[in-house]
């Protein structure tokens, strides 16, 4: 018995050593990636991901404002106040709006489609092409946004955008959120909740709100990951880009239109 104990099987030991090493090598990246994603980002974003949205217009309810309200709360847009002396009509046309609810009607059949329209996060964004200062830019992970430090407020990008996605801030802003700096003289638009992205949150405010409302019309995810829910959904159902004739390869896709 003792003799057997002393007689160590070295091959067996080596096998276990290699097996443990291989297991660690396979599992560790997953564990490390997971823990990094929950903390504020410390490494520069890369083009290994491309963030996007898929909006199922058949699930988008008429009159529902859940995503718009959630966007306003997330980004401090609900803190905007009408400047004294400005008419209600002018304020409605000038205040910052990152998502617009659009209703389409087919005049021949009478079919009505509702959809939220925000920055489409194009692969080839016209707003970036026309920006004279480089303030309008596309981040490596596909988010199109404005660097307000270099924005001079010329509004060329607003002219160039086919989706009317951008807003200009006309008046001094007093109430900002720490996570969303915004101020007078700059252009702004949907940035796919960029502070959420950098802090490792799973989704956007609009997608979460739509889910909470029970519609589940908005799916957020990584377009480059073939296993992500958004890629799976894009694979299984027909979807379109709005103004796909412009060949901008938008990051926001719509189905049912």
């Amino acid at each position: 018995m003792n003799h057997q104990k002393d007689n160590i099987d070295h091959d067996r030991r080596a096998f276990f050593g290699v097996a443990a090493g291989v297991t660690a090598a396979v599992v560790a990246p997953g564990v490390i990636l997971h823990s990094v994603s929950a903390a504020p980002r410390a490494e520069a974003v890369t083009d290994a991901v491309r963030w996007g949205l898929l909006i199922d217009t058949t699930k988008c309810a008429d009159g529902c404002r859940a995503c718009l309200d959630a966007c306003d709360r997330e980004n401090g847009l609900d803190l905007q106040v009408r400047p004294e002396g400005q008419s209600e009509a002018k304020w409605e046309s000038q205040k910052a709006v990152w998502i617009r609810k659009v209703q389409l009607q087919d005049n021949q059949t009478g079919r009505v489609t509702n959809l939220p329209l925000m920055c489409q996060h194009c692969e080839h964004p016209p707003c970036v092409d026309v920006c004279p200062t480089g303030a309008s830019f596309k981040r490596a992970d596909g988010i199109v946004m404005v660097d307000r430090h270099t924005c001079i407020g010329c509004r060329y990008c607003m002219m160039a955008c086919p989706y009317k996605a951008r807003s200009f801030i006309h008046e001094v802003v007093h109430d900002q959120l720490t996570r969303v700096p915004r101020g007078k003289g700059c252009v702004e638009s949907c940035n796919l909740c960029v502070s959420r992205r950098d802090n490792g949150a799973a989704s956007t405010a609009c997608a979460d709100a739509c889910e909470a409302e029970g519609h589940g019309a908005i799916v957020f995810g990584d377009l480059k990951d073939s296993e992500s829910p958004i890629s799976q959904a894009l694979k299984s159902m027909p979807s379109r880009q709005i103004r796909e004739d412009l060949a901008l390869n938008t990051g926001v896709r719509y189905s049912g239109v």
Partner: protein, 160 residues
């Protein structure tokens, strides 16, 4: 002789006046770090004090590009970090904007006549984002009411 005494007297008076003026200027400047802020309880800023006084703008400027373009957050030179640490409670216990008169940013910047334009866009009080436990503890110790949502009570974006 009398002339020499008068001259010496004048020199002494002007010296005293000049010194007095220095003291008054220093008093106008106020203390740099405000009482009740998290910073008041720490021995040093994220870099040595001399370095901070001279180069804080360069650090913030470098950081802003890394944050906006590369998405790097939560590093030691973030403006949100400056605000969180240096904002101090007012008489009503609410945090006072860091750029308000006699507050941390404004104390030096008004003396040096250098405009701070960070706060045209950035929040001057910790607001709407995750506030660290350390900051919350410092605020509580300083008597600042903190809501359950982790926000100083009474900020306009309360409960968010």
């Amino acid at each position: 002789m009398a002339k020499a005494v008068v001259r010496a007297g004048l020199v002494a008076v002007s010296l005293a006046w000049a010194l007095g003026a220095q003291v008054v200027l220093a008093a106008d400047l106020g203390s740099f770090v405000k009482e009740g802020s998290k910073a008041a309880g720490l021995s040093a800023c994220v870099e040595p004090t001399d370095d901070m006084r001279r180069n804080h703008m360069e650090m913030i400027k470098h950081q802003r590009d890394a944050t906006v373009h590369e998405g790097i957050r939560g590093t030691r030179h973030s403006l949100a970090g400056c605000i969180e640490c240096h904002v101090s409670p007012g008489p009503d216990g609410q945090p006072v904007a860091a750029n308000a008169p006699h507050q941390f940013c404004n104390a030096c910047h008004s003396f040096a006549a250098v405009d701070v334009n960070c706060f045209g866009c950035h929040a001057a009080v910790p607001n709407g984002g995750p506030v660290s436990e350390a900051a919350l503890a410092a605020h509580r110790a300083a008597g600042v009411a903190v809501t359950q949502a982790g926000m100083p009570a009474g900020t306009k974006a309360e409960g968010r």
